[in-house]
Symmetry: C2
DNA sequence: CTTGTTTATGTTGTGCACAACAACAGCAGG
DNA sequence: CCTGCTGTTGTTGTGCACAACATAAACAAG
């Protein structure tokens, strides 16, 4: 298992001088969610409550609250007497989630859009810069992380809180599938570079739309990219299943999947 | 408090001969959710974990799991050292939820629609009959209950499971507001009869669309009714706030709110 | 060797006692 | 009468020991 790789955002067993119960809950919840979506906990891995309790410096009880929530979100599945395992995901099962995400993407620009101030626009530009760095220095994990931050930035463009919550939930249900599918493909490096280029294009287009304040355009761009991303994902998964993934050169438009 | 009124669907402290943990969790969860939405537990009421534990014949631990989930859904709010209280709701805060529900209503007919078989169509006709009975025998509580069952029936028309889950969640966040607003209005009886007539019209139209298998039409009808219902709700709440609710006769189209 | 049974082991679910915390009543000082 | 403090009470959050459960290994019967 890759658990010991690096938990930059989960400083284990931090004393947390004056942390309230709710803050601690959120901290542990987000840490685990990030780990699962970055495949630090790959699908099928068993999470022992006692280990997690020791790692975060608490008892099993608060850990269980977090696990219950993660199970409600569909990332975990705990069975009495067996264990708590990270749910496995298949491209086919995620089609419905993607269909819904495609529709919701447009709503972000429609329902209570909030025009970003200079600070937020700066965040967008910063992310675009990190994305450009990524082109010359491809790294799947960093890619997934930037993608996650980009999502949260986009999500903050709507003032509709229920929409934000639901979009976030669906995002975290689907985002793992890319890393999982990609790791199975033979032409890992080429595909990663292609996907990063496509993602950079999306970020670039969206930042342009944000700069001129056209949030509806942001929604449309996002929608088409999510849709196309899922199409590439399906093709990639199909090739991986057929087993002739390493035998043919990928093209820029249909090379492989990317996290959206 | 109205807690002792009638818990038809929550047989308290049932022995439950061979009930698994998951089934019990679901039973308690749904019982409490129904009670909250039927205002058996009105907004602001304090729920004592120990009382609930005793009533359902379990310890505090499984009760807390249910409360955590209900809190995640926005129906409860528990504060350390204070208590677990039923969240209060205002029409203004629910505007965003309604905007989202309006958009999602159309998706039910679009995303993976499943043509209902004869059994399901019979359920629709049955509900329509109960709705007609309601006209000659108005009862707010029964109205809310039929409305709830009608929602679940509609929700089963899409095969998109994430959409079903999200729609359900949003429905239960909003459905309480009608009973709460209605109970504050002076012309309670007239408004109830008007709302029942409007609801009967909606059910009738939707059943007709279901019979000919046009699920997209179902989505459109539903969408417009949710939208109009919220408009009436806002007007009703405004009148109740202004305090001149009992002084003027309501009309059929703008009389008051109804649960959607 | 195969198969059905039993036992051992490890996990999640539950119950209970206690800690942490907030609100309130009572009271002293002004 | 008002204000600020303090003890008391009641609630949710936590830790821990045990029950319920599933799995797999060990074993006996065929």
């Amino acid at each position: 298992m890759t658990r010991d790789a690096g938990h930059e955002d989960a400083p284990a067993a931090r004393p947390a001088f004056d942390e309230g119960a709710r803050e601690r809950f959120d901290r542990i919840y987000r840490a685990l969610r990030t780990r699962i979506c970055l495949l630090d906990h790959p699908p099928g891995e068993r999470l022992r409550e006692e280990d997690l309790a020791e790692e975060f410096g608490v008892s099993r009880t608060p850990i269980r609250r977090v696990l219950v929530k993660l199970e409600a979100e569909g990332l975990l599945r705990s069975m009495h007497g067996v264990g708590t395992i990270v749910t496995d995901i298949e491209v086919g099962e995620l089609e419905q989630v993607y269909q819904l995400r495609v529709e919701l993407a447009e709503l972000i620009g429609k329902l209570s859009p909030v025009q970003p101030g200079e600070a937020k626009r700066a965040e967008f530009r910063m992310l675009l810069a990190r994305c450009e760095n990524l082109i010359s220095n491809p790294d799947a994990r960093e890619f997934a992380r930037i993608n996650m931050e980009f999502f949260h930035l986009l999500n903050s463009l709507t003032g509709n809180e229920p929409l934000r919550e639901i979009s976030e939930r669906l995002y975290y249900q689907t985002t793992r599938i890319w890393l999982k599918t990609a790791s199975r493909l033979g032409h890992y490096q080429e595909m990663l570079k292609d996907e990063i280029l496509i993602f950079h294009r999306e970020v670039s287009d969206i930042v342009a739309a944000v700069e001129i304040g056209d949030l509806e355009a942001v929604g449309h761009i996002r929608r088409s990219h999510i849709s196309m991303s899922f199409q590439r994902l399906r093709i990639g998964a199909h090739r991986a299943l057929a087993g002739h993934d390493a035998s043919e050169k990928p093209s820029a438009v249909s090379g492989g999947p990317g996290p959206r």
